[in-house]
């Protein structure tokens, strides 16, 4: 059964290494002073990348039943819906209907 996959030690260690390196990069980027809003974007991309590594290898999604990945992706999607649609309000208040 695929979900009983024993994740190779090498994979675990290199994932950890990659995560630490990415953390260093994240902090490094902070000191480079990228102008907003790109600083946030870079930070989010790096964090997403790290999170993907954790999910795939530490949490074993890479070896696991596909449906579990679907569940995770779905939850992120709904989070984005929540933020996205709410911001249609919070970012466009008092602009009236002139946007059309």
């Amino acid at each position: 059964m695929s979900s009983h996959h024993i994740i190779p030690l090498k994979v675990l260690l290199s994932t950890t290494f990659a995560l630490i390196v990415l953390t260093v990069i994240t902090v490094g980027v902070f000191y480079v002073n990228i102008p907003p809003p790109f600083d946030v974007i870079v930070a989010i991309i790096l964090a997403t990348f790290k999170a993907t590594l954790v999910a795939m290898f530490f949490m074993g999604l890479y070896y696991d039943e596909k449906f579990n990945t679907v569940v995770l992706v779905f939850s992120l999607l709904f989070f984005l819906v929540f933020v996205g649609i709410t911001m249609l309000d919070t970012m466009f208040r008092d602009t009236g209907l002139n946007i059309w």
Binding site: M1, S3, H4, I6, I7, L9, L12, L13, T15, T16, L19, I20, T23, T26, V27, V29, F30, N33, P36, D39, V40, A43, I44, L46, A47, K50, A51, V54, A55, F57, F58, M59, D64, E65, F67, N68, V71, L72, F74, S75, L76, F78, F79, F82, V83, T86, M87, T90, M91
Partner: protein, 216 residues
């Protein structure tokens, strides 16, 4: 929740056809639970994003009060604990009970270290009057909504901290059961599932760190 479903030792519960079915059910259950965790923290992230979009200057000013070093070290600590946690599962899969216990203990130690660091961070802030909400008295940030930033900060890190505490509790319980020899390659569902939970706690911190500490 993971625990309740799997208390029964290696025996397969009567309504499952076999161990595989039980294992993959538990795992799916845990993933769904993580789904709810994403939405639970999601609410706070939404509040964060919206307030940041409204007051970008406030977030820049306020983040200077947060210590990047503390944040970075804690990130590394949690990544390390994720590794040892994954290793504990590996040990269980390879029938190495002793290492299961050892790895779990290291994980617990790292988690505790995380909390200790958080403790110092919090006290440093509380001393200068950076408290959540109405108790906020700090005057170093010249912004009418400064207290809102720190409310969000305390809510997010506090809820995350609460998850760390729960994680420690779960792992202590795993250690006790592992010492009793309950886990082996045929049955290690609780370890696996607690591991999933722990990695999610790690992931959330991975996002919190740049969003809270690294704003310029």
């Amino acid at each position: 929740m993971a625990n309740a479903s799997t208390i029964n030792n290696s025996r397969v519960q009567h309504h499952f056809r076999n161990a595989d079915q039980q294992f993959s059910s538990s795992k799916l259950g845990m993933w769904l639970f993580l789904f709810t965790e994403v939405m639970f923290f999601g609410g706070l992230f939404v509040a964060y994003i919206i307030y940041r979009a409204w007051n970008p200057e406030l977030f820049t000013m306020a983040a200077t009060e947060l210590d990047t070093l503390f944040g970075a070290v804690n990130t590394a600590v949690l990544i390390g604990s994720s590794l040892t946690c994954a290793l504990a599962i590996r040990a269980a899969q390879t029938d190495n009970t002793k290492m299961v216990v050892n790895y779990l203990l290291i994980t617990i130690a790292l988690a505790t270290l995380f909390l200790v660091i958080k403790y110092f961070e919090y006290t440093a802030k509380i001393e200068i009057g950076i408290l959540p909400g109405a108790m906020y008295t700090f005057e170093g940030i010249d912004h009418p909504k400064a207290s809102v930033f720190f409310s969000i900060y305390y809510m997010m890190t506090g809820l995350h901290g609460l998850h760390v505490v729960i994680g420690i509790g779960l792992m202590i319980w795993l250690v006790i059961r592992a010492k009793a020899g309950d886990y082996n390659s045929a049955y290690y569902t609780p370890v696996e599932i607690t591991g999933l939970y722990w990695h999610l706690v790690d992931i959330i911190w991975i996002f919190l760190f740049p969003l809270m500490y690294l704003i310029d």
